[in-house]
Amino acid sequence: MLRSLNLAEARKGQFLMMGSVADPAVRLLALRLGLGEGSRVRCLHKLPGGPVILALGLQKIAVGRRLARQIPVRKERV
């Protein structure tokens, strides 16, 4: 089953489905980089207390920890 969590709670290696980002400026930038609501990403790395690195295709996107807490995601079954 799918469970709701935020990006900061995701574990390394997990496949995730992006929820909606609250901050409009971040939402627009996310859309440009390829992250929209429903985009499927993988949590590549988590730096302790630091950014979460997402993989979207071959692209890597670094998301600051505070911002990651505000991005809802759902765990995906592979």
């Binding site: 980089l33 390829g34 630091g50």
Partner: protein, 591 residues
């Protein structure tokens, strides 16, 4: 021969290889950089009857930043748009392609980095993509000149042929998924809807025509993994910084600059110029003092500038270009994010701070890439106070390497402590909220030697044209002061500060004056005082501390006023003087 050239505008996301294509087409040089936002200028060149314009890397065309505004203006009178797309980052790059389709101008898409995409096992259905986009898509790897002949052949078509080719595939981005085409540059109210539409179009194109392999395990991927894991990344980063410090502080300053300053300029050139001019200039005359005196325009100025500083600056820019072009810089931003967040900055601020070690003036301009006014204020204050510029930094390193290890350690701790305290303090007192890190990381790539050399040469030339006049001005002022016996007066005035507060010899007054004009001029003066043996070890530490924290040079103060306004600028300027002398006094009192 036609007089009006057709305009070809190259557009693409950052680091997709636009500038490599630009160079291949026009033969002239454009800055290729691995960090978003370093090519803010438009580069223009010629190819056949085309005027080719290279725009800065953007993820979309709007008015979010300078790069986008510049690109938007360039697109307005384009006859043909060449959208360079990174084949390994299609889901990101096709967003811009969809937006460009809605501009309704002839468009050509070049799918660059096909070699990397193939190596990574990415499968792209080119005919399908071409059909859905409705424009010609050329597979390419411009670094290997692959696909270049196809682009050139396309450019040989007449204007009528180009228009005809485009008219056969109308419909804009929405044609790929149905529905009306959004306006190219929507206003704020419509923006998000349009963005969603372009996103959907790009996603659909990727779903239809793109397949990824399950795992990539190239050397770059493994190295990236090591870099982005703190346990291995931080030691690697530390090792890298140590190597850089050693390269600049030991190899360049002591070996290379020792030869260029000590032998080439200091002996050969000095003997030649004084031998040439001194028979014609009376030894006590004004011209003798001005031209070939101790601070002469033909002696001190060229010896410091070409003998001492130039080799150091070249070395520094080579290192910076290497870090930019390899994609290391954004990784450092990721590693630094957590620490920087305590100063109210995010990891992206590593860019202006590291650039500051090159030139604080340029770094102050680059604070624009930061997301909020608050971050720009904090970064500017840190840059002006606690970050020495490349020439000054190299000399500081050289002087610091002549210190006993305990003093070297103390020096590093003092500067680091002040940097940290200022950051923590500003984060507490400044109102508002800083933005968070949100960054697309370019792939790790082996930089191209030719590009590194060109880039280093361009920036080093910039240093000479920038620093040259300031050095001449400094030489002039100090020579005047020297000739009219102003030094004893200046020493007397500043004696309470230099000898009283800091416990330094009176002669150091001249260093502070030089530093106000140009920081590295003062640092070069300090270097000759230290190598001349006129300062003891504790005195060197005090002088180093004050010189590092002391006011930014005239050029950076001017930029500071422009970028931050008079209030911030004056606060930072006055603050740096107070902090510099207070820290120096404290060190002097303790030792």
């Amino acid at each position: 021969m036609k007089t009006t050239k057709r305009k070809l505008v190259l557009v693409g996301n950052p680091n997709v290889g636009k500038s490599v294509l630009f160079g291949a087409l026009t033969g002239t040089y454009a800055d290729v950089s691995n960090f978003p936002g370093t090519t803010v200028e438009l580069a223009t060149g010629r190819y056949g009857d085309w005027q080719v314009i290279d725009t800065p890397g953007v993820y979309g065309v709007s008015t979010f930043n300078d790069e986008e505004r510049v690109t938007k203006v360039a697109l307005e009178d384009a006859d043909l748009i060449l959208n360079v797309v990174d084949a390994t980052h299609l889901e990101r790059d096709l967003f811009l392609t969809c937006q460009l389709l809605d501009l309704g101008k002839p468009l050509l898409v070049a799918l660059n980095m096909m070699d990397e995409a193939e190596k990574a096992g990415v499968k792209i259905d080119l005919p399908g993509l071409e059909k859905d986009l409705g424009v010609r898509v050329i597979p390419a790897a411009f670094r290997e000149s692959r696909g270049l002949h196809l682009v050139k052949a396309y450019l040989r078509q007449s204007p009528a042929q180009l228009r005809a080719a485009f008219r056969t595939h109308p419909g804009g981005s929405a044609a790929a998924c149905g529905g009306p085409a959004p306006p190219f540059c929507p206003d704020a109210a419509e923006r998000e809807d349009c963005y969603r539409l372009w996103r959907r179009s790009a996603d659909r194109l990727c779903q239809r025509h793109l397949a990824y392999p399950r795992q990539s395990s190239s050397f770059a991927a493994r190295l990236d993994k090591l870099l982005l894991t703190p346990l291995t990344g931080l030691p690697l980063l530390l090792l890298l910084l140590l190597a850089v410090f050693f390269f600049i502080g030991k190899v360049l300053t002591q070996t290379v600059a020792g030869f260029t300053e000590g032998v080439v300029m200091g002996r050969w050139y000095f003997n030649w110029i004084t031998g040439l001019l001194s028979p014609h200039l009376p030894p006590d005359g004004f011209l003798h003092c001005l031209l070939i005196g101790e601070y002469g325009l033909l002696t001190m100025v060229p010896i410091y500038l070409f003998g001492l500083l130039f080799p150091l600056v070249v070395g520094f820019y080579l290192v910076m270009s290497l870090m930019e072009d390899s994609g290391l810089l954004p990784r450092i931003a990721v590693l630094a994010d957590r620490s920087f967040s305590r100063f109210g900055l995010n990891g992206k601020a590593v860019i202006p701070i590291l650039l500051g070690f090159g030139c604080v003036t340029m770094a102050l301009v680059s604070t624009r890439i930061l997301g909020s006014r608050r971050e720009r204020q904090i970064a500017a204050a840190l840059l002006c106070l606690a970050v020495p510029c490349s020439a000054q930094f190299a000399i500081i390193l050289a002087v610091a390497f002549s210190l006993q290890p305990v003093y070297l350690l103390l020096y590093a701790l003092i500067i680091l402590a002040i940097f940290t305290l200022l950051g923590l303090l500003l984060n507490q007192v400044l109102p508002g909220r800083s933005t968070d890190l949100f960054l697309s990381l370019p792939p790790l790539r082996l930089p191209q030697a030719g590009n590194l050399i060109k880039k280093t040469a361009r920036k080093s030339k910039h240093f000479l044209t920038d620093a040259g006049p300031m050095f001449l001005l400094g030489g002039l002022l100090i020579s005047l002061l020297n000739y009219f016996n102003g030094f004893p007066l200046l020493r007397q005035w500043l004696a309470p500060l230099t000898t009283g507060l800091l416990g330094l010899p009176e002669e150091t007054a001249a260093l502070f004056l030089m530093s106000v004009i140009k920081r590295d001029l003062g640092a070069a003066g300090l270097y000759s005082m230290v190598t001349g043996g006129s300062l003891t070890q504790p005195q060197t530490l005090v002088a180093l501390t004050v010189m590092t924290l002391f006011v930014p040079c005239l050029a950076s103060v001017m930029v500071l006023f422009k970028e931050r306004g008079p209030l911030d600028a004056c606060l930072i300027w006055a603050g740096s003087i107070i902090v510099a002398f207070a820290a120096g006094a404290l060190v002097a009192a303790i030792l």
